[in-house]
Structures are given as C-alpha cells and as structure tokens.
C-alpha cells in the first residue's frame, strides 16, 4: 500500500492480481451476476487506489479490502433492482453445464435462497459461510455491532433452513 500511495501502479496490479478472485466471489454471491461482480471488483480496487495515501495499517489489509467491497455491494443491493439476465446469459457456476440436472437444480435452489435474504442477512451469511469470517471479523468488516451480526446470522440460517428444507 505504501508503494501504491507513492504512485506505483505496479503495486495496484499486484494487489488486484492477488485479491481479485476473493473480491469477485463476494460480489458475485451478493449480486448473483458475474458482470456486476466484475464492475464491483474494479470499483473496489479503484477506491483502494484512491484511499492508498490515507491508509493506516490498523486492521489487516484483507479486512480493509473486504470493507470496501461490502459497502459497495450493500449500496448496490439497496439501489434500484437490476433486471435479471435471461438464463442463457448467466454464466454457469463452476460445477459446469455437464453436471447432472439434479445437482444444477440444487445449486440454483441454494443461489435463490441466498438471493432471497434481505441484504444485511445475505452479506452476513456470505462472509460467515463462504469467506469463513467469524462473528468478530464480520463485525469489523461491516461496522455492525457484534449483537447485530449474531442476530442477522441466526435469522439468516433459520430462513435458509426453511427455504432449503427439501434439499437437506
């Protein structure tokens, strides 16, 4: 970050190269679309670039980057709803098109169940289950209180259990 603050654009390329996949995954799970995830990922690193000169290493760098993408993704989720793409324009998940139909249906059910959560619950679950952040880390990244994180996760997992009942 020091190099980036000094105007070294190679440092930005290195940081982007190193962290982009994790950031894209969060953005994808939050938006459900790879094109939007790419936009949010780019914006995350552009904000990182802009804030490099004022960066204080008081938190882990990963926490710092997560905080940016979380805020962007929540803003996006709160904004006007983006029209969904036709199914054939949505990139298949990594499991690929060759997997059995039942598995594809299961993945779609999981994706839909997560997408149906209110945005704060959705973000809490994404950070907890997929990014493997603990309660305290989620509170640091989101700026929510520990009790808020706890309650969001309880409600989110209850909702998911309900929605995914037939797959459990």
């Amino acid at each position: 970050m020091r190099a980036l603050a000094a105007g070294d654009m190679n440092a930005l390329a290195t940081l982007a190269h190193r962290h982009q996949q994790a950031i894209r995954a969060i953005a994808y799970r939050m938006t459900g679309r790879w094109d939007l995830a790419d936009d949010l990922t780019q914006e995350t690193f552009l904000r990182l670039h802009r804030s490099a000169s004022s960066y204080q290493p008081t938190a882990a760098f990963r926490t710092f980057v997560h905080r940016i993408v979380v805020n962007l993704a929540l803003d996006k989720a709160r904004g006007p709803r983006v029209a969904g793409l036709p199914d054939d324009m949505v990139a298949p998940d990594a499991a690929g098109a060759d997997t059995p139909l039942a598995h594809q249906e299961k993945l779609a059910a999981i994706r839909d169940a997560v997408a149906a959560l209110p945005e704060r619950q959705r973000m809490a679950v994404i950070l907890h289950r997929f990014e493997r952040l603990n309660h305290q880390q989620i509170a640091e990244v989101t700026g929510w209180s520990a009790s808020a994180v706890e309650s969001l996760l309880v409600r989110a997992y209850q909702e998911l259990r309900q929605r995914l009942k037939e797959w459990l």
Partner: protein, 150 residues
C-alpha cells in the same frame, strides 16, 4: 438448559474454543431438541458449501490499472495510449519487414518490464507500469542468438 441458536451456529462453524466446544457437544449428545437443531444447521452449512463461486477465469488487474490511470490523469493516459498504439504499429511493421528467423533460433520469454523498455515506454515513468496489465506476464519471442553460437 438448551443451547441458543447462535451458539449452535458457532459450533457448526468451528468458532468455539476447545472447552466450550466440548461442553456443547456433550449437551447435544444428550438433548434431543438441540441434537435436532444441530443436525439441521450442520446440513444447511454443508449444503451451502456446495455452491461454488469460481468465476469464469478472467484477470481484471490490467483493466483496473488502466482505469485508475484514466481517472488519475486523463491527459497523461491519452499519451500512454498513443504510445501503445505507435509501439504496437511499429512492432507489427517490424514483424512484417523482418526476415524469417533461422530454424534454430533459441526462444526465450521476455518479461513485461523488458517489453516496456524495449519499445521505449519506460520513458513515460510510472505511467508505463500501467501497461503491465495490457501484456501477458511474459511474452515468448525469438530474441537471442542461434543455438550453440556465442
């Protein structure tokens, strides 16, 4: 007394310390209600884990750096872009005019930095680094002497 939902979530996620974990596991084994809730939560946890988010492979770092340069200084970016076009044109022309390489020319990979220097973009200073993402990390080329010769 039954475990609260949040504790069960921490248990499933592996967030509890050893002692607390042991106590919870012991309770879950003897409490039917908690055992049921724990099983459902664990199943939900496992099911969610089956959702992959591996992006169609795409490296955004070049686009990010290019956009950062554009936002930082649009005029300097324009000069960098112009230099790229000129250098690219020169490279194509050189490729057309150059004689075919001898059969036994040694191949080597040239790094992005070497490529930037070779086409004179290093004169642009820091902005030349913005080009890093526009090239593959190394470029196979035919620089070098014929094999076996000094």
């Amino acid at each position: 007394m039954c475990l609260d939902e949040s504790t069960l979530i921490r248990l499933v996620a592996g967030e509890l310390g050893d002692e607390q974990r042991r106590a919870c596991v012991e309770h879950v084994q003897v409490c039917h209600v908690c055992r049921q809730k724990h099983a459902e939560l664990a199943a939900t946890w496992d099911l969610l884990g089956q959702w992959p988010a591996e992006a169609p492979r795409r490296d955004l770092s070049g686009a990010i750096v290019a956009q950062a340069c554009r936002r930082q200084s649009p005029r300097r970016w324009a000069s960098v872009a112009a230099a790229v076009l000129i250098a690219g044109g020169a490279g194509v022309a050189a490729g057309i005019l150059a004689p075919a390489p001898p059969a036994a020319v040694a191949h080597q990979n040239v790094s992005t930095e070497q490529l930037v220097q070779a086409i004179g973009l290093d004169a642009l200073g820091d902005q030349s680094l913005a080009l890093a993402g526009l090239f593959p990390s190394s470029v196979p080329t035919t620089l070098g002497s014929e094999e076996g010769q000094p």
